[in-house]
Amino acid sequence: MPLVATALSLTHIGSLMRGVRSVDEVGADERAASLAKRSIKKSSKLWALDLAVRCMDLTTLEGSDTPGKVTALCAKGMRPKPGDPTIPSVAAICIYPSRIADAVAHLRGSQVRVASVATAFPSGQSFTSIKIAETEEAVRAGAHEIDMVIDRGAFLSGDYQRVYDEVVAVKEACGSAHLKVILETGELGTYDAVRRGSILAMAAGADFIKTSTGKVQPAATLPVSLVMMEAIRDFVRETGRPVGFKAAGGIRTSKQAIAYLVLLYETLGADWMTPDRFRLGASTLLNDVLMQIDKERTGVYQSGDYFTID
């Protein structure tokens, strides 16, 4: 097996990408399904729910986002359950570039990071120069993390070089900001392509690879995440550089969140169970996690009215 990273820094990215090892779809689905059957109880469940909050990118990505909406989300992210200091704050607030200033203002002094999507999110169908400019502006406005999308049009037409160059350029534009590269796996069609995209993004310098924008169905799934985590594992083995993983889109329940943590634990190991290397992108997951934490602690469910909607 060729050393993916070193080889890719040479030329002929296209032919090297076609040489990336394949994924058996049936096998990947089965493995993910069997891990989803793990039964996480009591202390491990509480710990997992706490981690899910700490690793959450609390997200709003709507055309209707306003300063008010973002302010409310920041408040929720910093203190998910008012009056309960044992609940940690989330990892980041994930928003559109135009709302960065609002988030920066409200998160000042907290540990919560500002993550912004960029590069003509969600389609990625724009000029490279604009994508780079958008990234630079976002970082200048105060974003600590950039969630870029790859150019799926280029990827699916086989122009891997273009995708690679763009990620490299955006990474450079990020400066010290962390770069998450969204593959939009729902548009890639096969696990082979997901694996290829993962390795391409990592080789081009991604700090995280991320499943989806949340705007395309299917968004994150367990088997797709498994394939990406396995790609990370292989990449780390060959290069020594750890890369994070972010699942995003359609993760709404604690049960789903725990399934992702189990997958992470059994695929990449305990080293990845930290916000530095794992994120859950979600807009509505948080309250269900809070509700389950209460249930584990007290033995009873509280009504939805005891959890703030922001």
Partner: protein, 490 residues
């Protein structure tokens, strides 16, 4: 105070080490003592003898079962012979109805059966729950469908039932093997006398209850518990017209000798030493799962287990690295815990056998790998084990270990892979892992094995025939082939 990444990972590992998630057992009622199921009723054995069956994970006694003697066997075969007259003349659609009913009852009592199977045999609850019990129900369901279509199944052959079938089954998949045997036999219009394995009789006792619940006519199914002696009495009884045996090659040969010249029909499903062959273009992570599933499923107590890994030399190193990492994530322990991947070894005798063969591997010079793994203090346990540096001539590469022990060999070309894979007295199953479709077909043509799995392993379906070449036995179970074994088609 800042903690390092390493420390935080260590904390994460401790915190997430899954809390126990045991399957509830309070809904299961195991009786203290079981009789024999003869002529539709549970009766005391003529022998007056009972023996205990234990939970191999705790070594605690679960129940006592009867030991059937010659008189008991005779009573059971006569009951089955008498029932044959009416059962074989029952309208086929009525026969189908009973089988459908049994299938439904297995599904209804699935949780109970899964727990019983796990407690009596030591297999992880996730396997009995997700594999053994659903497949058992599926077999009855499948053969129920054939019961009134025999003329279509074998056109112009005038299919007729054979009579009383004597069936002896092993301890690795107790209820599933019972279903493989009983479902096609009844669908074809035969009646049966079945002997479950000595160490795992309990799910068959629950099945006897299911037969009563289904109001199956008396004598159609008879279940006799006992040891090897009882089994040999069943197969040797002159009233038995058809013998089906699943178990060791040694016993299979013995049965074949006993039956020579008697005119009884015989099918044997015996041992195996399957090769799981991984080519350099295989999807590696899925191949690793397939290897793990192939040999560590049910603690390796699987006749078609992929106990020899043949890996192309060019990828041996990365594959073994992945495989070793994966072994480290296997969870060994309480079989009733829903997160357990590897349960208890079925019996002390089997554990001794595994230990003996592993020792021979070490003595012959193979290199042993076992992941860090704490074994419970009570019960019979063996950690997942992998041998490298194995030669074809070593005992661990030739003999069936029937435990969680994998022997790794390498090959250079497809031809060499075929040669090594076939170089065994067995021929039950094989696995081929490659991205190249044409190579799968090329291999399948040349591998002398009853089943060849491509990019998967240990996959079963009632519609698919299963059985061996050479010392793995003859005859097929499952599918139409399995039905033919219980019919006179001459």
């Amino acid at each position: 105070m800042a903690i390092t990444k390493r420390q935080s990972a260590e904390l994460a590992k401790q915190a997430f080490e899954y809390a126990p998630a045991p399957e509830a057992i309070d809904h299961v009622k195991i009786q203290p003592r079981y009789g024999l199921f003869i002529n539709g009723r549970m009766v005391e054995p003529h022998s007056k003898k009972h023996f205990p069956t234990i939970n191999p994970a705790t070594e605690k006694k679960l129940a006592e079962v009867s030991e059937a003697d010659e008189v008991d066997v005779d009573r059971a075969v006569k009951a089955a012979g008498k029932a044959f007259d009416s059962w074989s003349h029952l309208s086929p659609s009525r026969r189908a109805r009973y089988l459908f009913r049994i299938s439904r009852l297995i599904q209804e009592r699935a949780r109970e059966l899964a727990v019983v199977e796990t407690m009596d045999g030591g297999k992880p609850i996730k396997e009995s729950r997700d594999v053994d019990i659903p497949l058992s129900a599926a077999h009855f369901f499948y053969y129920a469908g054939w019961a009134d279509k025999l003329e279509w199944a074998f056109p112009n052959r005038r299919p007729r039932p054979l009579g009383v079938a004597g069936q002896v089954i092993p301890w690795n998949f107790p209820l599933l093997m019972l279903s493989w045997k009983i479902a096609p036999a009844l669908a074809a219009g035969n009646t049966v006398v079945l002997k479950p394995a000595e160490t795992t009789p309990l799910s068959a006792m629950v099945f006897a209850e299911i037969c009563m619940q289904a109001e199956l006519p008396p004598g159609v199914v008879n279940i006799l518990t006992g040891a090897g002696k009882t089994g040999s009495l069943v197969v040797a009884h002159p009233g038995v017209k058809k013998v089906a045996f699943t178990g060791s090659t040694e016993v299979g040969k013995l049965i074949q000798r006993t039956l020579a010249g008697t005119g009884k029909k015989l099918t044997l499903e015996l041992g195996g030493k399957a090769a799981n062959i991984v080519f350099e273009d295989a999807p590696l992570d899925q191949a690793v799962e397939g290897i793990v599933n192939g040999i560590y499923f049910n603690q390796g107590h699987v006749c078609c287990a992929g106990s020899r890994l043949l890996v192309q030399e060019s990828i041996a190193e990365p594959l073994l690295e992945k495989l070793k990492r994966r072994l480290g994530t296997l969870r060994l322990g309480d079989p009733l815990d829903k997160n357990t991947d590897i349960g208890a070894i079925n019996s002390r005798a089997q554990l001794d056998k595994i230990q003996g063969l592993v020792q021979s591997g070490l003595d012959e010079g193979a290199e042993l790998y076992q992941p860090e793994c704490r074994l419970p203090e009570r019960g019979f346990w063996f950690p997942p084990t992998l041998f490298t540096n194995v030669s074809q001539s070593y005992r661990i590469a030739r003999e069936e270990i029937f435990g969680p022990v994998l022997s790794v060999l390498t090959f250079r070309t497809p031809a060499e892979a075929v040669e090594k894979a076939n170089n065994t007295p067995y021929g039950l199953s094989a696995g081929v892992w490659t991205d190249k479709g044409s190579r799968i077909l090329w291999m399948a043509e040349r591998l002398r094995a009853g089943v060849v799995w491509a990019n998967t392993f240990n996959r079963f379906d009632p519609t698919s025939p299963f059985g061996g070449y050479k010392e793995s036995g003859y005859g097929r179970e499952g599918g139409l082939h399995g039905l033919a074994a219980y019919l006179d088609l001459s």
